[in-house]
C-alpha cells in the first residue's frame, strides 16, 4: 500500500447516455491514495451515474477507468469489489428482511461446501465495528433499524469487503447535524487508516469540513476542480448551478390567525404495526408555516398520512377548523380544504402512466367541471391542465404525455400545481423539494410562502433542516413519534434543533 502519491482510481473521458439524457460527458476524475475527494453537483448532474460506472453497475459508452494504474473493465459490481472498490449508495441497498449480519456478508459469503460460515463473519464484523466505532446489533433485522444505523450497516458492508476505495454517495442526507459531524469524523478516520474516499454531496458546509480536493459536475460535465482552501461556499454554489444563488427564502412576517389544524395526543402505527406516532400534539394556525424537523423515521410519514386520512388513527384527535377528521376517508378530508403534497411523489402523488392532464385532476376527476354526471369531460381536464402548466411553469412536451416521462422536478411541480390550485384551509407538505435542483426548489418555496400569505395553514415536514429553518414560522421537533419541543423560528438555531432531533431533549 505504498504507492504514495499514486492515483488509486482514474476515470478518463467517460461518457454515458441514457435515452434522452447525457448523464456524463467526457468526464475525467481521479482519486489519490489517502484523500477525500468531494464530488459536487446539483441534482441530476451525473454524480451517481459516474460512480455507478466506477462501481461496475453501468458500462460507460466511452472512456476508460484505471485502478492503481491498471486499466479495468468491470462487467458487474463483483469485479469492482474484487478491485477493492466499495460503495455506499445514495438509496440504501439493504434487504430489510435479512439481519445485519446477513446483509453484510451477502455477496461475499464465507462458505464451506456452500454452507454459510457465519461464525468467522461475525467475528470480522465485530472487529470492524470496534475499529471504526460503528456499533450495530448483528442479529437485528435491517427492516427494524433506524436510518442512521442503516447508514452504518452500509458502511460496514463496504469495509467487510476490504474496500480501500470507498465511494460514499450522499451519505449524510439522512443524518442529524450531530450524526453528520460524527460521520465526517469517521470518514477522516478511514482516510487515516489508509482508505481513499470519494464523497458525494450537495452540502457545501460538509465539503469544507472533509474535502482534500473537490470536483464539480454540472449537466454531466466537469465544470471545476479545486480545493477547499482555494474556494468559498458561494463560489462553489455558483459553479454547481451555473449562476448566482440566493440561499435565503424571501418572505415577509406571518400573520397567524385561528387554529386551522390541531393534533392532540395522536397515536398511529406503521405498516408493520409498530407504534410510529406516539402521543403527538401540536397546532397550526391559519397563515403560518409550522415546520417539523426530525430525523427520518421518527414518525413523520405516518403523522402526515394519518392527518390526510390515509392511515388509521389508533388514538387521539385530529381537528381541521375545529372539526374532528378521525375516521374520515382521504376524500372527505380533502373536501374540508386539506391539500397534501406527499413525501413520495412516484408512489403516492402521481400515476406514472397517466397523462399530465389526468394527474392534475387526480383527486378531483369526479367533480364538475371535470365530470358531468356519469361522463368525464376530457376537454375540461385538458383546459385545466394547460392553464396549470402555464402558471406553474411545468416543462412538458404536452399535457397528454405520461407524467412518468417528465423530469423529477417537473413531476413534483405537477403535484404542487394540483394541490395549490384550489383554496385550501390546510396544506400538508412532506419533503417537497427532495431530489430537486435549486431552481425548482426556489419556485416551490415561493409558492408555499404564497399559500401561507393567503391564509392557509401549512404543515411542512422536511428532512432538510435548512429548509425547515428557512421556511417555517414555528418549528417543532419530532422525536420518536412526538413533538418534543416547538419554538418560534427566531429562537431556533441549528445546534439546539440538532440536539433535539438526535436525543429528544436539550440536555445533552
Amino acid at each position: 500500500m505504498t504507492q504514495g502519491g499514486h492515483h488509486v482510481l482514474e476515470v478518463d473521458g467517460v461518457t454515458k447516455t441514457f435515452p434522452g439524457v447525457v448523464a456524463n460527458r467526457a468526464v475525467s476524475f481521479d482519486l489519490a491514495e489517502g484523500e477525500v475527494h468531494c464530488l459536487l453537483g446539483e441534482n441530476g448532474a451525473g454524480k451517481t451515474t459516474l460512480m455507478n460506472i466506477v462501481y461496475g453497475l453501468y458500462r460507460p459508452d466511452e472512456g476508460t477507468i484505471r485502478v492503481r494504474g491498471r486499466e479495468v473493465e468491470f462487467s458487474s459490481s463483483a469485479d469492482a469489489i474484487a478491485h477493492g472498490i466499495g460503495m455506499v449508495h445514495q438509496h440504501f441497498q439493504l434487504v430489510p428482511t435479512l439481519t445485519v449480519l446477513e446483509n453484510v456478508v451477502l455477496g461475499a459469503e464465507r462458505v464451506r461446501r456452500g454452507v454459510l460460515e457465519l461464525g468467522p463473519a461475525r467475528r470480522t464484523l465485530d472487529e470492524l465495528m470496534d475499529r471504526y466505532g460503528l456499533p450495530v446489533d448483528p442479529d437485528a433485522l435491517v427492516g427494524d433499524l433506524s436510518v442512521g444505523v442503516r447508514q452504518r450497516v452500509e458502511l460496514l458492508k463496504a469495509l467487510y469487503r476490504d474496500a480501500d476505495v470507498l465511494i460514499l454517495d450522499e451519505p449524510t442526507a439522512v443524518l442529524t447535524p450531530g450524526e453528520v459531524d460524527e460521520f465526517l469524523g469517521t470518514v477522516r478516520e478511514l482516510v487515516d487508516l489508509g482508505k481513499s474516499v470519494v464523497f458525494i454531496t450537495h452540502k457545501l458546509r460538509e465539503v469544507a469540513q472533509v474535502a482534500d480536493r473537490i470536483t464539480v459536475l454540472r449537466g454531466g460535465e466537469v465544470v471545476g476542480r479545486t480545493t477547499p482552501a482555494e474556494t468559498s461556499e458561494a463560489e462553489l454554489a455558483a459553479l454547481m448551478v451555473g449562476r448566482e444563488v440566493s440561499f435565503a427564502v424571501e418572505r415577509t412576517e406571518a400573520h397567524p390567525g385561528e387554529i386551522a389544524l390541531e393534533v392532540v395526543d395522536l397515536v398511529v402505527d406503521d405498516d408493520r404495526g409498530h407504534r410510529a406516532v406516539d402521543g403527538c400534539s401540536f397546532a397550526v394556525r391559519a397563515g403560518e408555516i409550522f415546520g417539523i424537523a426530525g430525523v427520518e423515521g421518527n414518525g413523520q410519514r405516518e403523522l402526515v398520512e394519518a392527518i390526510a386520512g390515509m392511515r388509521p388513527v389508533v388514538a387521539g384527535e385530529v381537528r381541521v377548523a375545529g372539526r374532528s377528521v378521525v375516521g374520515l376517508d382521504p376524500r372527505r378530508i380533502a373536501d374540508l380544504g386539506v391539500g397534501h403534497i406527499p413525501e413520495d411523489r412516484t408512489r403516492h402523488g402521481l400515476i406514472g402512466p397517466f397523462s399530465v392532464a389526468d394527474n392534475l385532476v387526480l383527486n378531483r376527476y369526479h367533480e364538475a367541471p371535470y365530470a358531468r354526471g356519469l361522463v368525464r369531460d376530457r376537454s375540461a381536464v385538458r383546459r385545466h391542465a394547460e392553464e396549470l402548466v402555464e402558471t406553474f411553469d411545468i416543462r412538458t412536451p404536452g399535457v397528454d404525455v405520461p407524467v412518468a416521462q417528465l423530469s423529477g422536478g417537473n413531476q413534483q411541480k405537477v403535484v404542487v400545481a394540483r394541490e395549490l390550485s384550489r383554496p385550501l384551509a390546510v396544506l400538508l407538505v412532506a419533503q417537497p423539494t427532495r431530489g430537486l435542483d435549486v431552481g425548482s426548489i426556489e419556485f416551490i418555496h415561493r409558492r408555499l410562502v404564497e399559500m401561507r400569505d393567503r391564509g392557509t395553514a401549512v404543515l411542512l415536514v422536511s428532512a432538510e433542516l435548512d429548509e425547515v429553518l428557512g421556511l417555517a414560522d414555528t418549528v417543532g421537533v419530532l422525536y420518536r413519534g412526538r413533538i418534543v419541543a416547538s419554538m418560534a423560528a427566531e429562537e431556533a438555531d441549528r445546534h439546539r434543533i440538532g440536539l433535539l432531533m438526535a436525543t429528544g431533549s436539550e440536555a445533552a
Binding site: I81, Q93, P96, L98, G114
Partner: protein
C-alpha cells in the same frame, strides 16, 4: 401502555371474528346438534386388529363437551388478547376437526372407524401438494410468481412416463429411476421456459405461467397419443414401497413409515429447503433477490442467474411431483392427470406464507381436507335421511381453503420483489 389506549369502539378484528364464530358454533353444538346425535356409543380405532388402541365415546356427550369448550375458548378470544388466547383458538380449531369426525361417525351406521389411515392418507394426498408448493416456494422466494406449477407437474408426469415406456416398457428397475430423473428434467425445462419468458424477456409472470400450463397440457397429450398409445403403454410397474425399520412397526403412526420414495423425499426436500434457505450462500442470495434485487446487484450478485436457478430448481421439484402421479402412484399417464394439484399447491404456498415449515403444514392440511371428504363418504353419512352428495364432500378442500385463507391466516406478505420484472442496470 397498549391497554391504556381506550378503544373508540369494540373493533371487529380477526381474532374477535374467529372467536365469535367459535362461540356461536359452540352454542349450536350444545343446544342443537348434541341432542340430535345418537347416545349409542361409538369408537375411534387407531389401527387394525383387536389390540389396536381405541377411544370409545357417546356422540351426544362428546359433542356437549366439545361445544362447551368452543364457547369458552371463543369467548376468551373475544374478551382478551395474548398468546394464551391465540393458542386457545388453535385448540378450538383442532376441536372443530374432532367434532367433524365425531359427527360423521355419529351420523353413520358404522359403529367404529379407523383414524390411523385417515392421517396416513392425509399425508399421502398432501405430499404432491407439498412438493408443488415447494416448487413454488423456490421460484417465488426469488421473486418470480409461478402459476405454472401445474403445467410443470403435468410435464413431469407425462414426459417422465413417456421416457419410462420408451426405455423398457414399464417393467421397473433402473429405467424407472431414470424415468423419474427425466420427469425432474422435464419439469426443469418447462421452468426454464417460464424463466426465459419472465426473467429474460420480462413478460408478465402470470402470463408466462399461463402459457406454460397451456403448453404442458397440449404437449403431454400430444406425446401420449403419438408415443404411449402406439406402444400400448397402459400400465407399468411403479416405484417400490419402502419400510423404515422399527418406525414402521410403531402403533398408530407406523403406517406413515411404509411408503414410496418420492413420498419420503417430500419431507426430506422440505428439511433441505429449510436448511438451504437459511444456512447456505445460495439460500441467502435467493432470499435477497426476492426482496431487493437491486441491493443484491450492487453486491455483485447476478440476480438473473440466481432467479433462473431458483425457478428451474422449483421446476425440477414440480417435475418430481408429477412423477409422483405417473411413476410412483399409478404407473400410467392420462391427460390432465395432475387434476389441479398445482393450483392447490399455490394456495398452500400462500397459506404457509412462503416459509418451508408452514407451507408443508398447509399442504398436509389440504391433504387432510381431501382425506376427510373421502372418509365422510366412506362412512355413508346421512343427514335427515339424505346422504351427503359426493360433490359436497369433494368441495370440502376448496371451501376449507377459502375459509382458512380469509379467516385464520390473515394477510400474507409475499416476497417484496415478487412479480416485478427485473431490469439489470446498464
Amino acid at each position: 401502555m397498549i391497554a391504556a389506549v381506550a378503544p373508540r369502539r369494540l373493533r371487529l378484528d380477526r381474532q374477535r371474528v374467529v372467536g365469535g364464530f367459535f362461540v356461536v358454533g359452540g352454542f349450536l353444538l350444545v343446544f342443537a346438534v348434541a341432542p340430535a346425535l345418537t347416545t349409542e356409543s361409538k369408537r375411534f380405532l387407531f389401527g387394525i386388529g383387536p389390540d389396536a388402541p381405541s377411544w370409545t365415546f357417546v356422540p351426544s356427550t362428546a359433542t356437549l363437551w366439545i361445544g362447551g369448550a368452543l364457547v369458552l375458548l371463543g369467548a376468551a378470544a373475544v374478551g382478551w388478547r395474548g398468546r394464551i388466547v391465540q393458542a386457545g383458538l388453535v385448540v378450538a380449531g383442532v376441536l372443530s376437526v374432532l367434532m367433524i369426525l365425531v359427527a360423521a361417525l355419529a351420523l353413520s351406521s358404522n359403529r367404529s372407524t379407523n383414524l390411523a389411515p385417515l392421517f396416513v392418507q392425509s399425508l399421502r394426498l398432501g405430499s404432491p401438494i407439498a412438493l408443488g408448493a415447494l416448487a413454488g416456494l423456490w421460484s417465488e422466494r426469488s421473486g418470480v410468481v409461478n402459476i405454472g406449477i401445474e403445467g410443470m407437474m403435468l410435464a413431469g408426469a407425462g414426459i417422465g412416463f413417456v421416457a419410462y415406456a420408451l426405455m423398457n416398457g414399464g417393467a421397473g428397475g433402473v429405467p424407472l429411476y431414470l424415468a423419474v430423473l427425466v420427469a425432474v428434467v422435464a419439469g426443469g425445462l418447462f421452468a426454464a421456459l417460464h424463466a426465459f419468458l419472465s426473467i429474460t424477456l420480462r413478460t408478465d409472470q402470470i402470463v408466462s405461467g399461463v402459457a406454460v400450463n397451456l403448453l404442458a397440457i397440449g404437449l403431454t397429450s400430444f406425446l401420449r397419443s403419438q408415443i404411449l398409445v402406439p406402444l400400448n403403454a397402459d400400465s407399468a410397474t411403479t416405484l417400490p414401497e419402502l419400510s423404515i425399520p422399527i418406525l414402521s412397526d410403531l402403533p398408530v403412526v407406523g403406517g406413515v413409515f411404509t411408503a414410496k420414495p418420492i413420498f419420503f423425499f417430500t419431507f426430506f426436500a422440505f428439511a433441505v429447503a429449510a436448511f438451504v434457505l437459511v444456512r447456505t450462500r445460495w439460500g441467502l442470495r435467493v432470499r435477497a433477490v426476492g426482496e431487493n434485487p437491486h441491493a443484491a446487484e450492487t453486491l455483485g450478485i447476478d440476480v438473473i442467474r440466481v432467479r433462473y436457478g431458483a425457478v428451474i430448481l422449483g421446476g425440477c421439484i414440480a417435475g418430481l411431483a408429477g412423477a409422483q402421479f405417473s411413476l410412483e402412484t399409478v404407473g400410467s399417464f392420462d391427460d390432465l392427470m395432475t387434476n389441479g394439484t398445482g393450483f392447490i399447491a399455490l394456495a398452500a404456498l400462500i397459506f404457509g406464507k412462503w416459509r418451508p415449515g408452514p407451507v408443508l403444514a398447509g399442504a398436509m392440511f389440504f391433504g387432510f381436507a381431501r382425506a376427510l371428504g373421502v372418509r365422510i363418504q366412506l362412512l355413508g353419512v346421512e343427514i335427515a335421511g339424505f346422504p351427503l352428495p359426493s360433490q359436497f364432500l369433494q368441495a370440502v378442500p376448496y371451501v376449507v381453503t377459502i375459509v382458512v385463507l380469509a379467516g385464520a391466516i390473515g394477510r400474507a406478505v409475499p416476497p417484496a420483489a415478487i412479480g416485478k420484472p427485473y431490469r439489470r442496470s446498464r
